[in-house]
Structures are given as structure tokens and as C-alpha cells.
């Protein structure tokens, strides 16, 4: 299908954005205009099924009223179990000191994350426990002008581990599977994936900032199917929080974990060894990769999916190198 066919009738919002209101925009401009448009919201959506950011109620009340209301069960969650009130007032508030004072996170490229509509944030994963995902969520909530909530896709281990399961659901996250990814994207949510999974968080310190294999590219298929742009994101700093110098495989097997980390401080210093090292963090949201140019059915074409996965991976790796050069030192 030639791109020249797509000529917006009248000056569309997107065409104005690229500074062209003429009657016949050239093909590349028409394509860019189409990229700028947000994917259509699922027409069959039930309001409240998936909470989009503008549907979240804003309340001004004291802590005491808040606590009283919470204890009487007077609040709402969406169908994924996302509890925006608890997330904003408690979970993110607990992470904020870590973000601001401990890791001194600097976030760039927020303009690449749309203020509304679906988008898939794909980032590197590291640092033994997935602090990087929590920091990315806080970055998008605190620093993005639209204060967006990041809905992450996690491994099933997350949802079978006590407490983690409970917190993950309430913070808006869900299992990494096609139906959930597509349901969230179709509802216009900002979805986060860490396609390296445990290979990324559990890799030895010597492998730091080397991207691992990117799963099976399921996230790309979900983005293609919902025509959501992919935002390749690089996170620098998490690798040094818990430098993993060894892996106690036997202990891991007994505990049913994918790995059991040995760091310079853990388990030697006991609970003190669980304090992350105060590394300096940089997060960069890269230029979005549009997925709405691909023909219908591309999500089922493995070659398209592989190539797009590689493109995302390459972009994140390059971005990581650039950030590492920018950072004065690991703890600077």
C-alpha cells in the first residue's frame, strides 16, 4: 500500500504539529502525521476495566481520613487489581527518597513518552532485585508532565511469591502474557517490559551493561497488534546497586529461585548487605519506534518481529553506551 494514499482531509492536529497545513502534504509528512496519532482506544472497553490516567480520581484529604477510608475498604481498583491511590500515596512515596537522594536519578527523553495513549516502554534489566523497574515507574509518574502510571509486565515468579504478588498487582502490574499486554495497550496504557527477564537481573557483574537475549519478542508482537509505539529505554546505575560476584546455585535451587546472589556485602553482612550501593543513575527514554506503518498481520510474521526486536535491542544498547560515557563515575 503506497504511503501517498494517506492524505489527511483538512489540517489534522498531527499535520499542524509538523508545521504543514497545505492541502497535499508529501508522503513522508503524511507518514509522520500518522505516527504522531495515538492508537485507537478499544471501543468495547468498559469504563474502569483498565484505569487510564485521566480516570483516576484526585482526592484532597488528610492522612487520617485516608487511613480511615482505606480500613473501611472504601476505594476502587481496576480489573487488574491496580490501586492508584495506594500506589501514589504509599508505594511511590516509599520509593521517592531512594530515587531522589540515594540514587540521584536523572531522567532524560521524557518528551519521547506520549502524554496520552498507548506506548510500550522497553528497557534493560539489571541489579539482582528489579529496582530499575520501580525507578522507571517513579520517573514517569513524577517527572513526566502527564504523571503517567507505568503498567509493567512481570514474570510469573512475581505473582507466586508472597507479598511481591500482592504489591505488584496493586501497583498496576500484571503477568507478561499476550492477552494482558494487548488488553492494557488497547486501553491506551503506558506498558513497561523488561524482555531480558531473569537473565538480565541475575547476570554477573562482569557482564554489566551487556544486553542479554530479548526473550521471544512477544512484546513486539503485542505492540504491532495494537499499533502502539515502542520507546526503547536505557537505565544506567542499577548494575552497581548489587554487584553480583557469585551465584549460589544450590541455595537457589532449594529456595526455588532463578539465582541466589552473592555480592561483596550479601550475605556476609546479613540484612545490612541488602542495602543497595548508592550508585548514580541515569534513565533515558529513547526516540519512539512506530509500529503503525507495518501491514496488517505483521505480528504473525516472525521475520518482522525478530527484526523489530533487534532494532529495539540495538537502540537500547547504543543508548546505554552513550549514558555510560556521560556518567562521570559509577557513584559520582
Amino acid at each position: 500500500m503506497p504511503d501517498a494514499n494517506i492524505v489527511p482531509i483538512g489540517p489534522s492536529k498531527a499535520a499542524r504539529l509538523v508545521g504543514n497545513t497545505g492541502p497535499q502534504p508529501s508522503a513522508p509528512i503524511a507518514r509522520r502525521a500518522r505516527r504522531a496519532s495515538t492508537p485507537a482506544i478499544d471501543p468495547e472497553r468498559i469504563p474502569g476495566e483498565v484505569w487510564t490516567d485521566d480516570e483516576i480520581p484526585d482526592t484532597e484529604e488528610g492522612w487520617l481520613d485516608f487511613a480511615r477510608r482505606r480500613l473501611s475498604g472504601d476505594y476502587r481498583v481496576d480489573d487488574f487489581g491496580f490501586d492508584p491511590e495506594l500506589t501514589d500515596k504509599v508505594l511511590l512515596a516509599l520509593l521517592r527518597p531512594l530515587y531522589r537522594s540515594w540514587f540521584r536519578v536523572e531522567t532524560t527523553g521524557l518528551e519521547n513518552v506520549p502524554s496520552q495513549g498507548a506506548s510500550l516502554i522497553v528497557a534493560n534489566h539489571s541489579g539482582v532485585i528489579a529496582l530499575d523497574s520501580a525507578m522507571a515507574q517513579l520517573a514517569l509518574h513524577d517527572e513526566h508532565p502527564a504523571h503517567r502510571h507505568l503498567r509493567m509486565l512481570g514474570a510469573n515468579l512475581v505473582f507466586q511469591t508472597p507479598f511481591m504478588a500482592e504489591i505488584a498487582r496493586k501497583a498496576g502490574h500484571t503477568l507478561a502474557c499476550h492477552p494482558d499486554a494487548e488488553r492494557l495497550l488497547a486501553a491506551g496504557e503506558l506498558v513497561g517490559v523488561w524482555p531480558e527477564g531473569f537473565k538480565g537481573v541475575g547476570k554477573p557483574f562482569s557482564q554489566r551493561y551487556k544486553l542479554q537475549r530479548f526473550g521471544r519478542g512477544g512484546f513486539v508482537a503485542a505492540a504491532l497488534r495494537t499499533r502502539s509505539p515502542i520507546v526503547p529505554t536505557a537505565i544506567v546505575g542499577a548494575e552497581e546497586t548489587y554487584p553480583m560476584i557469585g551465584n549460589a546455585r544450590t541455595v537457589a535451587r532449594i529456595l526455588g529461585l532463578p539465582y541466589f546472589p552473592i555480592t561483596p556485602t550479601f550475605p556476609w553482612l546479613g540484612p545490612l548487605g541488602m542495602v543497595p550501593l548508592p550508585s548514580k543513575w541515569l534513565i533515558h527514554f529513547g526516540e519512539p519506534i512506530p509500529t503503525d506503518d507495518y501491514p496488517e498481520g505483521s505480528a504473525d510474521d516472525p521475520m518482522v518481529v525478530f527484526n523489530l526486536t533487534d532494532q529495539v535491542r540495538e537502540q537500547i544498547q547504543q543508548s546505554l553506551y552513550r549514558l555510560l560515557v556521560k556518567r562521570p563515575s559509577a557513584f559520582g
Binding site: 487489581g81 512475581v158 507479598f163 504478588a165 500482592e166 496493586k170
Partner: protein, 322 residues
């Protein structure tokens, strides 16, 4: 001439109400209620036949009365209602097989509506946030009511293949709740102290008892071949539900949960079997688009409203819920 509907399981609460609801429906000629025991109260407008659906007598009843629609509500949820697990399994599975055999032999049967349960999807950490009807369970149920229901659905599918002229509708319901219905979950929420699995807060979904019965009626009125999830919109977290009920709660380590649960509910209907424990650990939610689009059924109550109406009903009855 109106239609003749046969309803199984009429001596239990929902079956009885369903039969009465259909009997009051002007579009339906006559309603025949079947169960092993007679209902405690006579159901107005229905003809009760005391017959065991585990017994071929049912075929004779159906032939003589020229039944054209069968509503199967005879699957029992807890062993206590049946008097033991082996009887329960027999009523559920063998009973369904006999009923289907009778339907197959009765040429006049035009439609079959089966009340099934969302428990057939199982519960576990690998579950998607919402189940659609075409999804296979990730953690297939291995015991109890849920497994019986899986087997029942299998036989129903077999019947649908053998009698393609019959419209077969399977309705997978979220847990029934409301001011009057009593289930394992309503007993659980009225325990003096409600135990929960430590570190887990499952999403629960309910269907209001009136909505559930209306859904069956909708399926009787305009038969649609296929399987449909039926649930009130939205979910409620277990902790939230317990807080709403104003009950004290205690978090119990996963492996000890069934034991503590049974100790807290020695004679109650509350169920701490394996499947039920998994449900109270991992939760479950249903996608109900097909219910709206194909069945064109819209429940009047959301999950939350259904739960609130249960609390109001329990309060009226003095069941000691705030």
C-alpha cells in the same frame, strides 16, 4: 402453545428460584422441576418430579412431557450439600451424563442451558488478568467442584457435537453472591475471624444472584450456541471485601491456611479445599464482552454492588456482619 422447560436441581436455592422465575414468565408454557429430594417450600407454578437424574427415569419424564428446553443447574458445589464427596461427584458427573443421554434420546429438545462455573479456569500465578471463553486454563483444576465442572463441560460439548440441532449454552458464572444466597464464600465472609493467605490479596469477582438468574433466563429466551462468562463488572480485592464487611482478619502462612480455615469454621459451609484455597490465593477475573455482545445480557449489579447487597442482606438477617 408455550414452551416446556425442565429445570434440574430445583430443591436447592438457586434452582428453586430459577424454576419459579421461569414459571412466572408468560412466554413459557410449563416448567417441570426435577431433583432427588422434594423442595422445602412448594415452588408456585411448577410441576415437581422427584427423580434422580442419575437414573434413566429422567428420559421418560422428558419424553412424556414433551420438554423442549433443559436448564441444568444440578451441579453441586460442596460435599456438605450432597452428603459426601463421592455422592457429590456421582450427582455432578454421572447425573449430567444421564441427563445428556436423556436429552439425546428426546427429539423434541431444542435447547440446553448449563450452569457452569468460572472455577473451570482454575487459579494460579500464570493466569492472565482476565479469562476469555476461548482460553485454556493455565492451572487446570485437579479436585472438587471445579474438576467436576470441567468434566461436566466436556460431556456437554460431546452432546453438542452429537446433537447439532440442539442449541447448547454453557454459562460460566463468577461466584454468586447477594442478600439471600448461601455459598461457601458467603459463609467464609461471615466467619468470626476471616483468615487470608499471608502475602496475597486476590481479585474476586461476583455475580449478583438476581443477575445470575436473569442471565439463565436470557439464555432460555434466545438460545445462543456457545460458552459465556457471566460476572458483574469490576473486581474487589479480598482484603477490601473483608474491610467492607468490617470483619477482623488474620493472615496465615500459605501451607497452614487450610488447617486454620477449617479450625475457624468447624461446621460452616466455608470451603478450604485445594481449589478454593487457590482461588483465595491467586483470585480470578472474567472477560464478559461475549456476554454483552452475543448474549446481549447486561448485569444490573457490579461486583462491588453485589457484595454490598450481600452485606446488607446478612445484616438484615442478623448474621452479625457490620
Amino acid at each position: 402453545m408455550g414452551r416446556t422447560v425442565l429445570v434440574t436441581g430445583v430443591s436447592r436455592y438457586l434452582g428453586g428460584r430459577m424454576a419459579a422465575l421461569l414459571a412466572a414468565d408468560p412466554d413459557i408454557g410449563s416448567v417441570i422441576g426435577v431433583d432427588v429430594v422434594a423442595p422445602e417450600l412448594t415452588i408456585p407454578g411448577i410441576e415437581f418430579v422427584r427423580a434422580d437424574i442419575r437414573n434413566p427415569v429422567i428420559a421418560k419424564v422428558m419424553g412424556e412431557a414433551a420438554v423442549d428446553t433443559v436448564v441444568h443447574m444440578g451441579v453441586i458445589a460442596t460435599p456438605r450439600q450432597a452428603g459426601g464427596r463421592s455422592t457429590m461427584k456421582e450427582i455432578n458427573v454421572i447425573g449430567t451424563m444421564q441427563l445428556l443421554a436423556a436429552c439425546q434420546r428426546t427429539p423434541g429438545v431444542r435447547s440446553l442451558v448449563v450452569k457452569s462455573t468460572a472455577a473451570v479456569y482454575g487459579s494460579g500465578p500464570k493466569d492472565p488478568a482476565k479469562f476469555t471463553e476461548d482460553m485454556e486454563p493455565k492451572h487446570a483444576p485437579s479436585s472438587g467442584w471445579a474438576k467436576d465442572s470441567v468434566e461436566v463441560e466436556t460431556y456437554v460439548r460431546g452432546f453438542a457435537r452429537r446433537r447439532p440441532d440442539v442449541s447448547v449454552t454453557t454459562l460460566r458464572f463468577a461466584n454468586f453472591i447477594g442478600p439471600t444466597v448461601q455459598t461457601a464464600l458467603t459463609s467464609y465472609f461471615t466467619l468470626p475471624v476471616v483468615p487470608t493467605v499471608l502475602g496475597f490479596d486476590p481479585r474476586l469477582q461476583f455475580v449478583h444472584e438476581d443477575d445470575g438468574l436473569e442471565a439463565i433466563r436470557a439464555a432460555v429466551h434466545s438460545p445462543h450456541q456457545g460458552t459465556f462468562n457471566i460476572a458483574g463488572d469490576g473486581v474487589i480485592m479480598l482484603s477490601q471485601a473483608i474491610h467492607r464487611a468490617g470483619r477482623p482478619t488474620i493472615g496465615v502462612l500459605g501451607p497452614l491456611f487450610p488447617m486454620v480455615g477449617r479450625a475457624l469454621s468447624p461446621r460452616g459451609l466455608a470451603d478450604f479445599s485445594q481449589e478454593s484455597v487457590r482461588h483465595l490465593t491467586y483470585g480470578r477475573a472474567l472477560d464478559t464482552r461475549a456476554m454483552r455482545r452475543v448474549l446481549e445480557f447486561e448485569p444490573e449489579h457490579t461486583t462491588e454492588e453485589a457484595f454490598v447487597s450481600f452485606l446488607a442482606g446478612a445484616h438484615r438477617e442478623g448474621r452479625d456482619v457490620a
